[in-house]
Amino acid sequence: MQVNKYRPLIVAFCCNWCSYAGADLAGNNRLNYPADVKIIRVPCSCRVNPSFVLRAFQRGADGVIICGCHPGDCHYTSGNYYTRRRMALLFSMLDYLGIERERTRLEWVSAAEGAKFAATMNDFAEQVAALGENKRLEDLRCKR
């Protein structure tokens, strides 16, 4: 038996109206996705201030994924369009600083897409696990 096998810590911000419901559907349908994924429910993907993403990394996340309604479907009409711009710029900046670009992702998942939710999380968790621990964005001040 393998003990202490490295498991990534993944934070998934999911908007209440689509992606969180998508996660629910995945659960109801008994679709597997790794327990390493910790979901944080937000009212809308645009609630995710870029500093939330940084804060997650600072406190030890190995990967951060933001999920929201598909463009055009945001419960608040346009929230996810702002999210899209913010995250595009943030991801590009992290890359510019030499931080692995595979640690961040933005994905649109609707309430009907339980299968997509599970597949996305499986894929993302695998991708992050392959990178190993988040060293470049860790913050010793926040490590316990």
């Binding site: 870029p50 500093s51 940084l54 804060r55 600072q58 406190r59 463009p71 055009g72 346009s78 369009y81 702002y82 899209r84 711009r85 913010r86 995250m87 595009a88 710029l89 943030l90 991801f91 590009s92 900046m93 992290l94 890359d95 510019y96 600083l97 030499g98 931080i99 692995e100 670009r101 992702r105 933005l106 470049r136 964005l137 913050d139 010793l140 001040r141 926040c142």
Partner: protein, 331 residues
Amino acid sequence: MQKINRDVLIDRAISLLNSGQVSSVLGWRQGEFFYDVTPAVFTDENDIRENFVWNDFCGANFSKYLVSKTKASDGKILVFLKPCDTYSFNQLLTEHRFDREKVYVIGIPCEGMVDTGKLKAQVGDGLVSAQSTEEGLLVTTLYSDEPVNVDIKSVLAERCINCKSKKHVAYDELLGDEGQIEDSDRFDEVARIEAMSPDERFAFWQGELSRCIRCNACRDVCPACTCEKCVFDNPVSGVENKAPVNSFEEKMFHIIRAFHVAGRCTDCGECSRVCPQNIPLHLLNRKFIKDINGFYGEYQAGECVGSRAPLVDYNLEDLEASDVFEGRDTQ
């Protein structure tokens, strides 16, 4: 050498003050040394005659001071703005940070400002005086017998070498001729960093940012940073002070700082000017500007009052976050 000399500025300041059109003047005054010229408020004619400074060391951008000064004053304030300062001025107006009616702007042409660090690197420490000549500066120091001739181009601040515009985008009165928007190479350095491998980029930024002493000068000077309460002062933010380890913790501060001004940063260069550690903060700001230009179309913050900053705007056809790296193969 600056095109307009000090006497012209002083004359205008005194006549506006004496006619009662303005009640105070925001200008430069000599600090501890001749090269550390600091912003000051003048209300007295004699004080202006004696202490008003205008030379190649007047880097400070006064726009941000208007936020607090207009609140504190009932009368109008006369402010002298260089071309790049007027962009910050407009950006602040766009964000409704002060009352335009309370300000009288005199635009002054700028031939570029000296980076004291570069000057010291060239002639050594102990600067005593510098006299502007046609081609440059005649500098005397404590340790050289003869004054040294310095080519002005070799000591200009980075932001002046890569000046984006000599055009005033806001003024009530302009001294000298109307300038032009310049062709600058300000994104070359960003492109050079982009072309590095991730490991090299990480090492580069670790080298730069770990020198940060978290004095917060870059935040304090920035005309786009005018919130009354700042996350960096919040004791539970985790980024409120310097990390007590010899590591790279300050990256959080820097990403947040640069992101906070993304789309609103006019690239005035004040942050890099004031950094005591010579951290090239403009390379972070310009990365955002370059990306915004590339992803969402050319945008210059502060070019006109009332324009919508790219991060509070969107387009249905905007690129997806996953497409950001398309065509960039450095991995």
